[in-house]
């Protein structure tokens, strides 16, 4: 489990996150939702230590993460997998080399064992016959799936996904959502997903945190999100005309 307590973060004196407290549960897909610019990505990057926080606490199980030095954070970071918004695959490496990279860096496995693990991870995300391709030769959906394969290569305990569906067509977006949910259950990971895709919210939101202007406004699950009386959340969830029509049709 990851616990965030009273987290505050500002940039050049301008507060971006104010007093955020939330628990992200193990084996569940935890979603952070909110409008663009609401502070979702800053929260995610603060939790994984890419941004140093102003105050508050970030706990990975019983370890206070934000007080650790770079070297001390390495152990926890070796248990983290991350899917970036733009995939962040290494341009100069092939698909196979990208997935193999964390294995080369952190394991002493034989080359055969590494190749076996790479192929297993790529098969798991349905990437076949693409081992020798470079990221520039892949579609957006394939890049995301390769990035997921790289993220799970070391059997992480924690998986972070920053807007995994951005720039993808609805069908591919659903596939990515399903993949994240399946992997979370399969490896019993603590998964945190940043999104503003309402389909993701309905499909995989086992726990949902709604952020607006850097403040946590609402917390619940996918069954509660459509019936909340939190006005900012309703304005966000029913922002598009399709959602409004469905809501009015269902009374």
């Amino acid at each position: 489990m990851i616990s965030v307590k009273n987290l505050c973060k500002s940039f050049q004196g301008k507060p971006v996150l104010s007093d955020i407290s939330v628990d992200f549960e193990t084996g569940k897909t935890n979603l952070i939702i909110g409008q663009s610019g609401s502070g979702k990505t800053v929260l995610l990057k603060s939790i994984i230590g890419l941004h140093e926080i102003d105050s508050g606490e970030i706990w990975y199980e019983d370890t206070l993460f934000n007080n650790l030095e770079f070297e001390e954070r390495k152990k926890i970071r070796s248990e983290i997998g991350m899917l970036f918004q733009g995939s962040a695959l290494f341009d100069s490496l092939t698909v196979e080399q990208n997935v193999r990279f964390p294995l080369d860096m952190f394991t002493d496995n034989s080359p055969e064992e590494k190749t076996e693990r790479v192929n297993f991870c790529l098969n798991r995300v349905n990437i076949v016959n693409s081992n020798k391709l470079y990221p520039s030769e892949l579609s957006g959906g394939m890049k995301k799936r390769v990035a997921i394969a790289r993220a799970i290569a070391l059997n992480p305990k924690y998986l972070f996904c920053d807007e995994p569906n951005s720039g993808l067509d609805p069908v591919t977006a659903i596939l990515i959502d399903e993949l994240i949910k399946e992997l979370t259950e399969e490896y019993s990971m603590t998964t945190i997903v940043n999104t503003h895709d309402m389909n993701s919210v309905i499909e995989i939101g086992e726990k949902i945190v709604f952020i607006q202007e850097g403040i946590k406004c609402w917390e619940g699950n996918k069954n509660e999100v459509l019936n909340s009386d939190c006005k900012p959340l309703n304005d966000f969830v029913f922002a598009n005309s399709l959602a409004k029509r469905i809501k009015s049709a269902s009374g």
Partner: protein, 247 residues
């Protein structure tokens, strides 16, 4: 002024991060070999071409500006040799490499920064500064002296070709000139300067790329800054090293 001092402080902190213990030596070794090819071998062509023509021009200019019966013609060969060894193959070649290698490094690392590839390394628990920059520094420190030796050889050859083909000096006189009053320490001096300049080019350009924020426009700007700052520092250290090594 405060901003400048802040940048200098950041540069030294960056260097501390770069020279920390590597995560896995075997991976760094492979990366260093890759950088030898990427930064060193690909520079041989441009260094060879420029050195050849620079040697040729130095020979012709020396010949036409010392057209006096008092001066023996073999001094043309001597002038070409010393100009190439003392200044061209170390300093001018370093300025050219600042343009080619410096902009390459800054844009490569800058693009990795804006596309979150550096964040991906950090999240894996890898010291990104060390992983990306240390192999480049080792590769250039080892390979640039080789480039300098190639430059010296090709530059003097270029001078011989231009001198003999234009008829300003005979082959025998040119060869006598390049052997006359030769001081081997000049080669050492040139190689010492090259090592310093290689470090400046790689570290300054990496620093510019590593701290890029924004998008492609900022990557372009960092690339330009890398070349400008590296060039200025090369010229400054050229003066300092010359005073220290030749005085």
């Amino acid at each position: 002024m405060l901003r400048f001092l802040g940048q200098v402080g950041m540069y030294f902190l960056f260097m501390k991060k770069v020279f920390s213990k590597p995560e896995k030596a075997s991976v760094y070794y492979k990366q260093t070999i890759h950088e030898f090819a990427s930064l060193g071998l690909t520079s041989i062509g441009i260094i060879t071409i420029i050195s050849f023509f620079m040697g040729a021009v130095i020979t012709l200019q020396t010949a036409y500006n010392t057209d006096n019966p008092i001066y023996p013609t073999y001094l043309i060969g001597l002038g070409c040799r010393d100009s190439i060894i003392l200044e061209f193959s170390s300093t001018v070649a370093a300025l050219i490499l600042a343009g080619k290698v410096g902009s390459h490094i800054a844009s490569e690392i800058g693009t990795m920064r804006v596309t979150e590839q550096i964040d991906a390394l950090e999240i894996m628990g890898i010291n990104s500064a060390s992983y990306l920059v240390l192999p480049k520094i080792i590769a250039t420190l080892c390979f640039n002296p080789v480039l300098t030796l190639i430059s010296i050889s090709v530059g003097i050859f270029g001078g011989w070709v231009a001198g003999t083909m234009s008829g300003v000096i005979t082959s025998e006189n040119f060869i006598y000139g390049i052997q006359y009053a030769f001081i081997p320490y000049y080669i050492t001096y040139s190689l010492i300067k090259t090592v310093f300049f290689a470090f400046i080019i790689t570290s300054v350009s990496s620093f510019q790329g590593y701290y890029v924020s924004g998008g492609s426009l900022e990557v372009g700007r960092s690339s330009t800054k890398a070349v400008v700052y590296s060039s200025v520092l090369i010229l400054l250290f050229n003066v300092i090293l010359t005073q220290l090594l030749l005085s």
